[in-house]
Symmetry: C2
Subunit: 337 residues, 2 copies
């Protein structure tokens, strides 16, 4: 059996350096790395993973449960998490929950049976009533969309404040009749749509603009398809409007298509702003104004929280930590540049 | 210690059913599933993963190495792979290679030391000269961008044929001066750009249109940013053109932005087609014509090949399998609808 010492000898480095290469440690010189990888290949060396896991009780992999990895927001978030985790020498296994409460409960119930050292859970289906289910006995961080009062570390967006700023940006640009395209009528649930609805409502109130329920357009799922259908619907409704706040950029990308289909010009007839600042927004025509919640900061904070939990294993549990990200308003062509 | 039998008794089902729920077996009734998950939670049951892995030699997780998960093409491909793998009761851990030969070699060299039962590797950096490095002793499937003659299972796109059809589509729509925006001058490497360049060249030859080197625009990386810069560059070059074939949809999305910046109208002044049929293409304005290589079929075939390799463990190795996907031309507004 080939040992790590054999590899080290063949590569002319220390066993520690070989270990660093195997574990993707960032501070190994390119040339040294290449030599170690060559020695690993030449000698056909392999780590006894099962033995290592039994010894350390770790797998070096964290789980990331997101609604859908093919929606730009989650794809870009996952890339940021992978980058942040790599700095802590952790791999990321991605699961899709399908944006359902059931899928998220499965991720929670089954994670301790998976090969994860911990879990970052991006919730959209769970509600405050599910707080008890979040009292899991493995390291976990809730990421993104929802604020819990529960005992769990979480990283959230400034949803109300960001939505207020988005709506205020439209009002500053002269809009008085602002459509809200969101994920459903406000209910008891603390979901992204209802938080951003609160921000929308507050901005109107601050500007002394009465809220017109005919400007609230609810959709069944935050997709491009639904956004396009909503924009066509409001355009054909006969209701006057001059602005649109879409609760996500993906919905806004669909809405831009729906307005184009209906012959409504952006930004001349209607100014449009989204939320999330996905990469595509800077390139589409017209480019999309948005709220940027600093995903890189959210991702690195979520990973840092999780790494903190991993480190305290067996020690007294710290109190739950909360991080609300900052945001900036990104003004582009869809609101007049 | 709580056993699987305890869970089965509490839920009123067989131990086999509990096992199915834990392993995400697709054919468990929703109601039964909920009962089993409740019993797992109530009894605080956990699988001894390390013991199971020592027993089976399996982790139930396959690796998927892609250049970048935040590029729409790869995000959408990853989602298809996750869906296809779930049908075989496999989880997917995603790694990013950074689109570099070094990143891909790392994925190859280190996969056997990871917790993967096998690897699906989406290559863009490796070349035919690296064939020997692909002779790994764990199950692996090469996906997507490159054709090897080596001894490895692979699933590829019909790159030459698709590119020929894309270019022919522009010619059918009246274009005679077709710009090619691709990833670099054709070299010895069998990469996506050079294969699609071959298809472009063939379509021109078939139509009796001479190839004008001034219409070949090379970019440094297949990104929106590079696509936008290339479109601006060719628009300002003084060279006449009436069509543009971009080797990926991501590049084409950038090019649409670049043409808009330069005051070149799509499709009136220039007709544009991409390759990949990413979801965004149907919604942007103008909507993007493209070549659809049937990602779902590619993903399910790649997973099927890998599952086949997993099943033959220890048996005589089968010959390498190859699958070239089919394609369709999707005509949208960017080529006149």
């Amino acid at each position: 059996m080939v040992t790590i010492q054999d590899v080290a000898r063949a590569a002319g480095v220390s066993a520690m350096t070989v270990s660093h290469v195997i574990n993707d440690h960032p501070h190994v010189k390119t040339e040294t790395r290449a030599r170690v990888l060559q020695a690993i290949t030449d000698l056909d060396y392999r780590v006894n993973v099962a033995a290592r896991n039994l010894r350390t009780g770790r797998t070096g992999t964290i789980g990331l449960a997101v609604p859908e990895v093919d929606r730009p927001y989650y794809g870009q978030l996952a890339a940021e998490i992978i980058t942040a985790a790599a700095r802590h020498n952790l791999k990321v296994a991605i699961e899709q929950t399908g944006a359902s409460r059931e899928g998220e409960l499965d991720a929670l119930a089954l994670s301790r049976n998976r090969l994860y050292d911990g879990l970052i859970l991006s919730t959209v289906g769970l509600g405050p009533a599910d707080t008890d289910l979040l009292k899991v006995d493995y390291p976990m961080v809730i990421l993104g969309e929802r604020i819990f009062d529960g005992p769990v570390d979480h990283v959230a967006m400034p949803n109300v404040e960001g939505a207020r700023a988005a709506t205020a940006h439209l009002i500053e640009r002269g809009c008085r009749r602002v459509v809200l395209i969101d994920g459903g009528p406000p209910g008891d649930e603390v979901d992204v749509s209802s938080l951003r609805y609160d921000g929308y409502r507050e901005a109107l109130a601050e500007a002394g603009i009465p809220l017109d329920p005919r400007l609230l357009v609810h959709i069944d799922g935050l997709t491009m398809e639904q956004g396009a259908a909503a924009a066509r619907r409001v355009s054909e409704s006969g209701v006057e409007f001059d602005g649109a706040f879409c609760v996500t950029d993906t919905v806004a990308m669909g809405a831009l298509r729906g307005f184009a289909d209906a012959g409504v010009r952006v930004p001349q007839d209607v100014k449009v702003i989204g939320f999330d600042n996905i990469a595509e927004g800077a390139y589409i025509v017209p480019s999309l104004s948005s709220i940027d919640p600093d995903h890189a900061l959210m991702a690195s904070t979520a990973v840092r929280f999780l790494v903190g939990r991993l480190a305290e294993k067996g020690k007294k549990r710290q109190v739950a930590r909360e991080f609300i990200s900052r945001f900036t308003v990104v003004a582009r062509e869809s609101t007049g540049g």
